[in-house]
Amino acid sequence: MEMIVALIMVPCVAALLMLAVRNDKARDAIAIGFAALIGLLSIVFAGMYLGASPVYFELPHEWSGFLSAVNVAIDLTVGVFVVCYAVRYRRLLPLVLALIQIGVCLWFELTVQHGVHFESQMRVDQLTVIMALIIGIVGSGICVYGLGYMKDFQAHHPEQKDRRPWFFAIMFAFLSAMFNIVLSDNMAWIYTAWEVTTLCSFLLIGFTKTDEALNNAFRQIVMNMLGGIAFQIAIVYAALNGLPLLFSEFLTAGSASGAALFAVPVALLAFAGMTKAAQMPFHTWLLGAMVAPTPTSALLHSSTMVKAGVFLLVKLSPLFLVFPAASVMVVLVGGLTFAFCSFLAISQSNAKRVLAYSTIANLGLITACAGVGTPETVWAAIFLVIFHAVAKSLLFLCVGTAEHHIGSRNIEDMDELFERMPRLARFMMLGIMCMFIAPFGMLVSKWATLVSFSSTGQVVLLILLAFGSAATFMFWGKWLGKLAGIAAHRESEELTVHRTEWVAIVLMALLVVVCCVFFPSISSMFVEPYLLSVFGSFGATIGMDNLLLMSIIVAFIVVVMFGTLGKSKKKIVAPYMAGITVDSNRRVFKGALGGEREATSRNWYLENVFGEKVLDGPATVITAVVMVAGLAISAFAAPGVSGEVSLPMYAQLTSLNENWLATIIGIIAFVILGPIVGCLLAGIDRKITARMQGRVGPPLLQPYYDVRKLIAKDDVSVNTVEGTYITFALVFTLIAGGVFFAGGNFLLCVFLVTLSALFFILAAYSARSVYSEVGADRETLQVMAYEPMVLVVAVSMFLGLGVLGGLPTFDVAGVANTPLPLIVACVPAFLGLLFILTIKLRKSPFDLSYSHHAHQELVKGITTEMSGKTLAKVEIMHWCESVLFLGWIAMFFVWNNPVSIALAVIVALATFFLEIWIDNNFARVKWQTCLKLSWIVGLVAGIANIGGLVAYIFLVLV
């Protein structure tokens, strides 16, 4: 109990002290001291309640009344505060909302609530522990970061009055309110803290008091007070109808009885959670919040505010299983928000806006997971919360520091940051990787999301997830590329970064790495006990062997990135400029038309496809309609499916390949056989191509000769890291092949292939040659084009195996256990895979990023700057990829008859021949066509195959 009081009160004391202290040094010392104390307290707290079943704390009755009074007082203060601001700045809407809030609060307190007592007021479970750790460590870390940042901020904005005491006071108050939300069990108290966070973020967003800041602050308060009032009405409704007012009792009673009475408060609470979690159409407040100083953004995005919204939704998730109307509303809004915001992020060049859209998108995913409400989805949701908190705070802190040193938060200006701010750029890259790529946490959580959506047959969500994830790759990949560019001999600009900023950044980076590496432990120590206490079952959907493999790869990447990267004895040469190079660092050259010109390259923003002008309107309308419909249906029609689980299907996931030995043998076999078979395939390809063109062609082993020659060439490179990146790409392709042919998890294989593609792209970007950048851009686009279809294949395989009478599993070994080949159930997915295979095998008409033909207009695309051994590795990687992708094709034709393997091989070879024929008979298309066709094929195949299978399972099998 003392711990709980301490967690809530210590930040309050810190806030008061911040107000009192005016001296810089004293403030630094006190803030650091208190931040450390809060962090320590949360760790001790976690240690005390680790693994315990939920603990309730009773308060003495005489206290209960007093605390409730304090609570009401805080409620009213918040209301009055908003009223004052609204009057002062003449804003009508906030005024009205605040008055409604005050009115409801007073009426409720005086008539309904009066004299009601509770047996317990505080509750600690494992989710609370996780949230407390996030708030305590990440939140206070951001406060420390703010110390240095705000000094620079004040120096950059001399016209602003020094109001830093106020700033830090609110930051600490915020933490206190967050602790209150996660620890309280009394709904009225949660509501109070809820409103305090709204007010705090209002004050922080409007901190600079410019017109823009004030507008955005008021937008925030309007949207969040709508949610707040919904929360309030939910409480009033519950009280008037005799429903429990303790949150834990409310949840258990609601999910056990499924009584219709719960439908309204559940929908209202879900609405409140979604406004706070900035779900569309309420996403604009979080975008507007970007005007605030960066520590504010970091705090709002990672550990507080929006996390309160998803915390509430995750808590509500058991109820969503019982109330389909609310569930569908939350699921659809979350899913649409994820997809739309991921698309919108592509069109942004302002780093903070990219981060904001990505936050909203990820919150959408968490919301959708919570909305489905099975243990598996909640498992994924909690991990998304954890990883989002650490990675996003790291990114915000990095962007903030970069902004103060390069004078811009535009991604275009972060060119060469790898050299200008070497440490900072590496931390930023770590944060970005953690956000979107396996083996880092966010992607592993997304993996779990995909699995759990598949096992519950969420067709719409699966499609939205597939396309949203593909967009995610695009916008993170190109940003990462900008950072990775290296030009020789730039001076380091990071010598003047404040020490407090470094401390916070390093802390966040450590958290990212620790969370990724200890993913399996976090699952078993925190998340699974929580799920056990709420649902009575574990929710883990990813086998322990795969989690461990991921951990190992994370450790490997981090060690190399921060340890050895940049130490190489290679000869360094300048990039190729297709003219007379004048200055390769500035990329100035003399072209055929004479005169010096500078080559520039910008990221792709695809504004005509994914711009705010295009997508904002439809997205807002659709999500608003879904929300209104969801609320209306909850209020008036069909509330609650009494007591029974409302899911149309719920396939139990099985995992076949928990065997380390098989994976290792598979990897070793693939390392040896993959290149041999791939080399022969490449030779056959060239031979057949020559014959199709009426030539004799090279010897069958020509690809092998080429690679041997390349290895014998001199070791030169445009920079010291390119070769390392390519080695990574090759290694990950080999592991992916090993995992696949050992019968391992198909999704793991897909994610490793994507990881390999990312490192290939990074290598090209790092060269900072315009030609390889164009190639890299196109490669990124290609990944975005084919990714949805690949995920559709995975999901179709999972569902198809179940329908065909095998075990529903993502393990490739599963296909050998079914009485019929996979193709019987997955024709659309197979055809879709055939289509994107052309992209993956780098064949015309989709060989945009590089090809084996003599397309010379872009030199050699992504491989332009690669030579010698590096190019040899690329070739070997390409061989192995060919084998792997033909393996994917073959997978459709294997069943529990050993002879089928021969058939599968024949089909794979026939497919390869078909690809060569296509390669020789089609001209290369524009990227627009490539993207459009691949996405249409992915969408149609996805809806047809996944939708068809789910409908079949629902109608015929269940």
């Binding site: 190729y576 063109q693 060439k713 700057e865």
Partner: protein, 148 residues
């Protein structure tokens, strides 16, 4: 035969030629001559190429370009001058802007004269170039060993 001889990748640059030799170079890649039989590929990227085919003479405008392409090529590398203009300046040798043959800009390993040079002669020159490439490759390997 070492590995380098089985996979000579070429890059082709046109100096100030009349385009006669260029057409012959491309003719060598067509099905009739099909130089890919010997593993020869036209790369268009100096960083990937082993053999530098230059047609036409060197002039004041392009001398720096030729030098740059040569410098960008990774060792071991060989230069083949295709056609009489590339060998010596040919009929353009006394034009006001012409410097002369390719060897005025970079070291040339094989000369393939002719106006225009015939595809057979180009193939022959490249095969000779492969021999030189092998020597250079061996020398590079020896130097590497010594260095290491």
């Amino acid at each position: 035969m070492s590995s380098v001889s089985k996979s000579p990748w070429v890059i082709h640059y046109d100096g100030s030629s009349c385009n006669g030799c260029d057409i012959e170079v491309l003719a060598a890649l067509t099905p009739l001559y099909d130089v890919e039989r010997f593993g020869i590929i036209n790369t268009g990227n100096p960083k990937h190429a082993d053999i530098f085919l230059v047609t036409g003479s060197v002039n004041e405008q392009n001398i720096a370009v030729i030098k740059e392409i040569y410098d960008q090529m990774v060792e071991p590398k060989v230069v083949v001058a295709c056609g009489v203009c590339a060998c010596s300046g040919g009929i353009f040798h006394d034009c006001y802007n012409v410097v002369g043959g390719v060897d005025k800009a970079i070291p040339v390993d094989v000369y393939a004269p002719g106006c225009a040079v015939r595809p057979e002669a180009i193939i022959d020159a490249v095969v000779q170039g492969i021999g030189i490439l092998e020597q250079k490759s061996a020398a590079l390997a020896a130097a590497k060993k010594k260095g290491a």
